[in-house]
Every structure is written in structure tokens, then in C-alpha cells.
Symmetry: C2
């Protein structure tokens, strides 16, 4: 298919219809009215702002969550803002119908109105980056900047966002490390169009620093400090935030997601297809057959998790999985990969692919140098002891089977775990070469590397 | 038992009887006569010198190999010395009866006379370290220095040598890395007696530099260069050779052997016993039972070896065994230890203790960074490919079983082998969890760590 045809076909699916636009507009107007009314009732000096893709008109058809920010005066103390902001949110939530409290840097209200998800987030009414006090304050500035610079390229942003979703490279959440909506907008503004951004995938990576608002000239010291810090942390990209020279818009973008974008951009340009935007579902497969093919083993830990949003839970699951990887490697088990996620409403799983589930009954235990007090101690305490160079070694009897090894590691606190998971992981159910029915496909995607692989049909995570 | 009694008992066994002394003296006189006679016949200006423990009267009862050095004038070219020296050796050898040519830095004649082994070694008649031209030239100077300084402490040296043999720490051969006879003599001269040397085991290690002839004052530059070099190479001990400031007498002493001495000296002083000098034979045991106890596996390679003296063969076996250790670790097999040695007249063995003999059918193959030419190539060539950070990884199908792994490594020259063994090791017979009858006890000693262990009954190797 020709590029033009593909793009036309995709646009048809992702640009909201006039009907949808009218609906969204109506919802926003109603929400603003309710917010103003409740603020007045509570006697609060607060301004409602819409931010995010709805406010910038870069949302994808059917994907219209509302971000309504409640901006308080700059001179209000933070504690007061938290309290009053949450109070106002609750009042609005009550009017809208069902709502719940969600926890990020500060608590906020998550409501539903006419089947649209509405986040009611308190913030400061900042005019400038020097005013920024909390992590969410910049959103208002972002929205203003994009609206001032997008120049009608809204559908180019929609194409890029949908493309990034299709190749599983979208999402700035800490556990995703993909491209954010704001970053997509900046790239389109900077390079002109969806296709031009793709054509420059390699160039963008090599250019390394993007400074759309010219901060390096306006605030050289602050901007260069940002660049230096981010380059030292080996980020794939440094995009100095047009509204704040202290911030890299691409700070959460990982090499893995940039790499997906890098290869898929090239493949798409070589051979355009709508499939990049709307990939087929992952192939289904049999995890047991996959395990047999590879000759590896699958360990699955199932455990309760406390009530935490994904932003908090997933990094802890990742940390814990890596903790197991490290601890098991030290014990002589080869870890080929790990995978983690939620399992039902109250549980989570960690999967580990191992090269074996049994090891010898003895392990070689390295000791201290022989001529030290500790060396003489080690010599006295161990029966089978020998030297390699100046270091003493001894034979140590250990658990042979993975279950015993894992239980032992957990008991002795020798696995680095996410801080809210420490107790529950210790009580985990440990499954060897078997997963319960609802995890069978997850196990297949993991073992076959369909999940993280660069080729094949990658469904966004 | 009291120290005194133990020492008396040991001395009785190790000090040669008057009868043995007379026999040795007779043999030496006869050999000297024959050597002078043959030299005269050949018209050679050569002086016979006895060196080694016989010449220093520090030999152990029953252990009286003769080292007869044939010293040529300093102005003779090396080639001529080699040729004439070997010629003279052969003539003497013929007169003595059976003889053979042995190969060290230079070829020399090894003969037998009245059932005593006689080495006939050509060298230069050096008067001073500045004259030294070949590795053996110093021996004459060593003998002179010891005889001038030993002060009748010959039996103290005998005790120390026998003790070191008993604890398997004696022998300066490159593959043994133990204490040499000359080093034992210097330690007794320096510290006064056998017991005093033992009492100072820790002190000697900490003192680090021993300079019995005061070279640091007489030749500071050369002596300090020696010290610096040896300390940089992390030698346990630097003993500046009393006859040559450029040389560390303990250059070949390894930490392992010093460690044996360190622990055994202390144990002996705590609880003196003749067993240290004359240990029981190694316990016999069943290697299969040992393997089962540990849950490990034993791989044995049997291969032909070219005709080489131990000094040349053993370092090559060691290098090869370490080569296997490294290559197999890279392939994901845990190597708990290695062992090597001769097997019959024409073969050698390498044993490897492994944590397993099978691995998964797939291996994770790390590739290049993704944004390079090689990265794009790697992406194209591999089907299952993914990113960890900026590095690409792929799945690779590999040999599962140790036999296939070893054959593959050898075919692709991926094992560092001793240079004279490269061809024959490739043709090695590979045995898994089984050794032929004559190697059964060797396998037991290896797997049980009786061989290198610091405790238990260590027979000198």
C-alpha cells in the first residue's frame, strides 16, 4: 500500500468525528460549570483548567479521559492546597456520581461522568517555571505552549501517538519508559509532521539535545546543567522542556522504547502498513510447548499486593523481579528473563525463566585471605577447606531445589524487594513449570519473547 | 608427645647413617674421578662441581640424587658450551652405564651409577652474579654460600625440608610452587632453627622482604628493583638471593603452599607429632559415592601427550584445564574444580568437576548496541531479538549436552590449550561421570578435595 493510503486509512480511525467532538465539548463545558459552582460554594479562589490531550485537541478517537486541574493561588501553603483541593474534588465528585481517591504525589479524586473518566487534580496556578511547586503544576504551561505552537498539526500528533501505541513504545509512566503525549507533540512541532519524525529517528538519537524553546540561549547556565545531568545519566534523548529549562521532557524515555521506535520507524517507511498502528493481537500459544522447545524452566511467584496504583506497584514489582534475578544468579541459577504484573484484583505475579531448577548439593564458598584473623577463623570452622591464591575456600552444603533456595533467600532477607511487597512476597505461592489458567497466555508471551521482542506482533503492554 | 621427642624420632629417620654417608662419599669421589678423566681425554678445560643437597650435606636419608655440574670457562661461547657439555656428559654417561638425554633450558645427561641418579649438567664456572649466563650457573654459588653460612645447622634444614614434604609444600618446580631446598636452607640460616622458622611463619609473611646477604645496602638500586618487581607481582615472599641481587629465591613460591606452611606450622607447634613429617597415605574412597554426595558431575578427558618432562608438560596441562574452566563457564556450566596429570606412559588426563552436564537448548546471545551498523545487522539476522538498555539480545540455539558443548568448543578453537597439546586434546576421549580403573582413586582424591585440601592426610603430590 502507498504511504498516503495507509495514513488516510489510519486517520479515519483515529480522528474524532464531529459527533465525538461535540460530545467531548459538552462534557467539558458541563464539568467546568460544576467545578466553578462548587468552588464558589466552598468560597475557594480556584481556577479550573483543562490539560492533557483533550485540552490540546490531540486525543485519539474514543480515548477521551478528562484532566481537570484545579489551580489555587501561589501564596496558598502546600498543606492547605492538598486539603482544600481534595475537599473540592470530593464535592465535584459527589455531584458527578461515583468517585474514588487516587494517590500520586498528592491524593486526588478520580470520578466518572457520562462514562468519561475525570481526574480532578489540585495544583498551583503557575504563570512561569519559577513558580512550579508540585510535579503537576507544569501541565497548565504545557497545554498553553502546545496550543500556541502546534499550528494545526493536531492530526500529525494523532498519527505519531497511535504509531507509538501500536509498536508498544507509548506511555511515560515510570514502569513503561515510553514516549509521552507531550513529547510526541514536541517532536511533531519540531520536525513538522508524523512522517518527518519517523524519517529522523536516527538523526534525533544522534542530535541528542532538542531545545525547541531556545533555552540554551535564554538561560544557558540552567539549560546546560540539565543537559549535563541527563547526558551523564545516559538518557537516549534530552528535550529541554519549552516551559521549564530544568526539565528533560524525555527523562523517562528508556533505550528499549527508543529502540522499538528506531527499528519500527524504518520498517514502516520501507513498507507502510496500517498494522503498525493497529497490530494484530499477540499470537496465542502453549507455554508448556515453548518451555520444552527451549529446555528452560518457569518459576512463578503469586502473592497478595496492597492497594497501590500501577505507578507505585509496577516499579516495586520490577525491583523485586530484578532482586530475584540477582539473588538467584549468585546462587548459580541462570535467569534468562523475568516478567511481572497484576493477577486478579488483589494479587500480583513474578515469573522467572531459569536454566534449571536443581543444583548440586554443595557450593564453593569463598572465604577471606588466609593470614587474617577472619582467615584463621574460617580455617578452624570449616572441614573441607583449601586455598586458591591467598584466598580460602570451603565446601558448603546448600539447598538443591529451587523451592528450598527461594524460601531460604526470602527467610534470610537476601532478595531486594519493593518496599510494600516485602511481607507478602515472603508468603508467596511458588509454582514450578506450571501456571494457573488465567496466566497461561502471559506465560507463553513471556517465554516466547513475544512480549518484549522487537519482531512479531507486539501488543502494547 | 613432647616437641623434643618428636624431633628426635624424626631425626632418626632423616639423618643419613654413617654407612650411607660413606657410600655417598664414595660415589661422589668416583664420579669426580671419572669426570676429570673424561674431560682430560676430550681435552676440555672443565671443572666438576657437586651442587645441591649432597654437596651441602642437607640431603635426607635415602634421598641422594647427585648433581654433578661441569663448569666451562666463561669465555666459551654458549653454543660451544652446549655441544661440548653434552658431549662430555655422554662420555661420562657411557662409562657409568645407562643414560638418557633430558631437556631443560639446555639438554643434559641423566645417568645412573650404583643405583644413584646422576645429573650431569654443563654450566659456566661463575665466580660472581655478574658472570651468570644460564639458569643453572648460580647453583655453584648457592652451594658455596650455604656451606659458608650454615654453621652446622644441617639437621635443622633436614627437619624443615621433611616437614615441608610432609605437608605437601616442598618443591620449587613451576607446577608445584612450593619451598625449594635452597629457600629452606636460607630460612634456617636466617632464623636459627627448624622450630624458629615455624614460630615465625606469620612474621616471615609480614616481613615480606628477606635480605640475608645485605644487598639492599650493597647494591641498593638493583636490590630495590628486584623487591619492587616481586611485590608488584604479589609474591608471598621476596628473598633476595645472597648470591644474586637480581633474583628472588622465593619467586616460584605460591600463596597456596605458603598457606599450607602457615597453618601446619601453627598446628605442629600447638600439637607436635611425627605425622606432619610422615603423613599417612591418603584415605581411599569411592569417587562415585563422593559424586553422589555432592550432586556434581565429573568430566574426564584422556589424550595422548608428546614426550615432555614434567616441568614442560604440567604447566601445559594446567593451562589447558584452566582453559576448559573458562570456556565452560562462558557456556553456563559451573566448574567447581579441575585436576590433571599423567595417565600411563603416553597419556594425560584432565578432570573437571561440573555443576551439571546439560543446559537449556537456547542461550541468550548478547549483541551490539542497536543504533550501530552492526546493531542493524544483528536485528536483521535474528528472529527473536530484544533490547535491554541500548544493547540488543537474541536467542541462540545451542548444544545441550556437555559432550556436544566440549566438541564444539574444541572444533572452534575456543579453549586455550597448552601449545604442545592442541592437537591431541582435540582427539580426547571424553568420559562423563566415569573414569577407568587406574584413575578411580585420583578421581576420589580430587572430588573429595583430599588432594588440595588443607586438612586431612595430604600426601605430597
Amino acid at each position: 500500500m502507498e504511504m498516503k493510503e495507509v495514513i488516510a486509512e489510519v486517520l479515519q480511525k483515529i480522528v474524532p468525528t464531529e459527533e465525538e467532538r461535540a460530545f467531548v465539548k459538552g462534557v467539558m463545558e458541563e464539568l467546568e460549570g460544576i467545578a466553578r459552582e462548587k468552588a464558589e460554594e466552598l468560597g475557594l479562589e480556584v481556577k479550573p483548567y483543562f490539560v492533557g490531550s483533550l485540552a490540546k485537541d490531540t486525543y485519539l478517537a474514543g480515548d477521551h479521559d478528562v484532566d481537570l486541574f484545579l489551580a489555587f493561588p501561589l501564596d496558598m501553603p502546600l498543606e492547605e492546597l492538598r486539603e482544600k483541593g481534595l475537599g473540592l474534588g470530593k464535592e465535584i465528585g459527589k455531584t458527578l456520581g461515583e468517585y474514588e481517591i487516587a494517590y500520586a504525589e498528592h491524593p486526588y479524586v478520580r470520578a466518572k461522568y457520562r462514562s468519561v473518566k475525570v481526574d480532578l487534580v489540585p495544583c498551583y496556578d503557575v504563570k512561569d517555571w519559577r513558580d512550579v511547586k508540585t510535579a503537576v503544576d507544569r501541565s497548565i504551561l504545557h497545554t498553553k505552549w502546545v496550543n500556541a505552537n502546534l499550528n494545526g498539526k493536531n492530526n500529525e500528533v494523532r498519527l505519531l501517538k497511535r504509531f507509538l501505541k501500536g509498536i508498544a513504545a507509548y506511555g511515560s509512566e515510570i514502569y513503561v519508559r515510553g514516549f509521552s503525549g507531550y513529547l510526541s507533540e514536541i517532536l511533531v512541532i519540531k520536525y513538522g509532521s508524523f512522517v518527518e519524525v519517523l524519517e529522523k529517528a536516527d538523526f534525533i538519537l544522534r542530535q541528542k539535545v532538542i531545545d525547541p524553546a531556545g533555552w540554551v540561549k535564554r538561560e544557558p547556565e540552567i539549560a546546560m546543567k540539565t543537559v549535563k545531568r541527563e547526558v551523564e545519566e545516559d538518557k537516549p534523548l534530552v528535550v529541554i522542556d519549552p516551559v521549564d529549562p530544568r526539565r528533560n521532557v524525555a527523562a523517562n524515555l528508556g533505550w528499549e522504547k527508543y529502540g522499538r521506535f528506531y527499528f519500527k520507524a524504518d520498517e514502516f517507511l520501507q513498507k507502510p502498513s496500517a498494522e503498525f498502528f493497529f497490530p494484530e493481537e499477540h499470537r496465542k500459544g502453549n507455554y508448556l510447548a515453548e518451555m520444552r522447545r527451549k529446555g528452560t524452566h518457569l518459576i512463578t511467584l503469586l502473592f497478595e499486593v496492597p492497594e497501590l496504583v500501577d505507578d507505585l506497584l509496577f516499579p516495586q514489582l520490577e525491583k523485586s523481579a530484578k532482586g530475584f534475578e540477582k539473588a538467584l544468579s549468585r546462587e548459580g541459577f541462570g535467569v534468562l528473563g523475568w516478567n511481572a504484573g497484576r493477577y486478579g484484583a488483589e494479587k500480583a505475579f513474578i515469573m522467572l525463566e531459569l536454566d534449571r531448577v536443581e543444583r548440586p548439593r554443595v557450593k564453593i564458598h569463598p572465604g577471606p585471605e588466609f593470614f587474617t584473623e577472619r582467615g584463621r577463623d574460617f580455617y578452624r570452622k570449616n572441614e573441607r577447606v583449601w586455598l586458591v591464591g591467598k584466598r580460602l575456600y570451603a565446601e558448603k552444603v546448600v539447598n538443591e531445589h529451587i523451592i528450598g533456595v527461594l524460601r531460604g533467600l526470602l527467610e534470610k532477607n537476601q532478595v531486594a524487594l519493593g518496599k510494600n511487597l516485602r511481607e507478602t512476597v515472603k508468603e508467596a505461592e511458588i509454582l514450578v513449570d506450571y501456571v494457573p489458567k488465567p496466566l497461561e497466555n502471559e506465560a507463553y508471551l513471556f517465554l516466547s519473547r513475544e512480549k518484549e521482542g522487537l519482531k512479531g506482533h507486539n501488543r502494547p503492554l
